[in-house]
Symmetry: C2
């Protein structure tokens, strides 16, 4: 019987092993300086923080610990966004893994949780959008230098997430009761075949559902929209089952163009955790 | 900073991710009913037992716990032999990861450790050779039914390993101070490129070095010898670097023929642990 922390850890491993996941590192693809083994080491390093969350620690410190451990490998950022989703979900699983419970947990986050979240950015190089002018003092890239401004405004971690929507679909999960993560877990349960194949199908449908916000941040809205339109065409014909070569070709093309829908991979990892922990799927 | 248990866990993940590893599940190959994701889940499940060893628990019970957790996935036996090597190595790392320390630890194993080892066979289906007639009461496949005979003869776990040599090169490591595992760790340090590529090179040279005992048990000495001769030809020309396609073709052929040099993969996992824990390699 796996613990919630072990299921979260396994979800991170299954996410990176699932293929094809267009634009992302997967079982069959590496990026230039970010390779499969970096994700394996990142998942192992994240574990202590995930265990803290499962043991009832506050979400911010547990997340910071998970990120600090994840960052102890040479590929830099591998699973920051996935851990930002998994930490409250694992914390919820300590009582009950449901949307109402995780919603109330994120509502209860404090300024101290927000401060820990800012400190987490000092461990890794995360791609984020420039904040609006009035939020410049709270640019996450300032790390702990932003904490005084955070405390002055009395912003909790969920407040920070609200500020990040739109433009960050990981933050959006925090303010929508993790709706896409829970819905994707149901899709994993309904799909056929080995779990990594199901995860590839769910990844494609998530990518078809909304433009990836990491792609929008790094490459612009038009590229993000193009990628989603292409994914939608493939998802509409259930291409993972009916024309896998087309999805493989799309995956190779995105890797070549350096287009990385990382937010969609983060939500896929969250869905894998929910599905494993709720025993919607087995392995 | 990874703990010894985390390095052992990462070693299991890196071993299965390393490719090509002829005849074994690797990043690019699955067997019929034994897939990549089963090894990921097996490695996650083994962790508590590895932590017990790192915390100074007796080797037998820690091993049994690791196997029980490993077996909680649908692929049955994934890493039994690797855990039989990793458990004493992780236990040694709690003080000092060196050949003299691990040798003295295995010398100190007890009848209770042997009993736990026998109980471990009840969690998974492990391929082993028929024992000699006088050892039939101690056939490991009898599981805990063999424990009274074990206690009557006063056999410790290292005694049981001595009885298993020749015919089991995992047991051979136990009675030779883990010489191939430590030597292979040095080879990992001396090789070039990403760690999974180094592990593939070391796997091939281990396979070239001695016929795989799991292949000999399941398919006969002649097949084991043929596989080693083929591996020796490829290793002699450093084929992983100079003619990778030839190694990939050999890997595909062994998978098709159902020839699985699992003992060689076990020793590769042990070498990865030693190299990570001793900081001979980084990731």
């Amino acid at each position: 019987m796996r613990t919630p922390a072990q299921n979260a850890h396994l979800a991170l491993l299954l996410e990176v092993a699932s293929t094809p996941k267009p634009g992302n590192v997967d079982r069959h693809r590496d990026l230039a300086d970010l390779r499969f083994e970096h994700f394996l080491a990142g998942a192992v390093g994240a574990q202590r923080g995930l265990e803290m969350a499962a043991d009832g620690a506050a979400i911010g410190p547990a997340f910071e610990r998970a990120v600090a451990g994840m960052a102890e490998q040479e590929g830099d950022n591998t699973q920051f966004g996935a851990l930002l989703l998994l930490t409250p979900l694992v914390r919820a699983a300590a009582t009950d893994l449901s949307q109402p419970v995780v919603e109330s947990l994120v509502e209860e986050t404090t300024v101290a949780d927000a401060a820990a979240f800012y400190r987490a950015f000092e461990h890794v190089d995360v791609h984020v959008a420039d904040p609006p002018a009035d939020m410049a003092p709270l640019d996450v890239r300032r790390g702990s230098d932003a904490i005084p401004a955070l405390e002055k405004r009395g912003l909790t971690l969920v407040d920070v997430m609200e500020q990040s929507v739109p433009g960050d679909d990981v933050a959006r999960e925090w303010v929508t009761g993790f709706e896409r993560s829970f819905a994707a877990a149901e899709q994993l349960a309904d799909a056929d075949g080995p779990l990594p194949d199901r995860a590839a199908t769910v990844f494609l449908s998530l990518l078809a559902d909304r433009p990836d916000t990491l792609v929008a941040t790094r490459r612009g809205e038009d590229v993000a929209r193009e990628v989603t339109d292409r994914a939608a065409e493939l998802a509409a014909q259930d291409a993972i089952s009916t024309d896998r070569d087309a999805v493989e070709a799309f995956a190779d093309e995105l890797v070549e163009r350096g287009i990385n829908p990382g937010t969609t991979a983060d939500i896929t990892a969250a869905a894998l955790f929910i599905a494993l922990e709720s025993e919607l799927v087995s392995i």
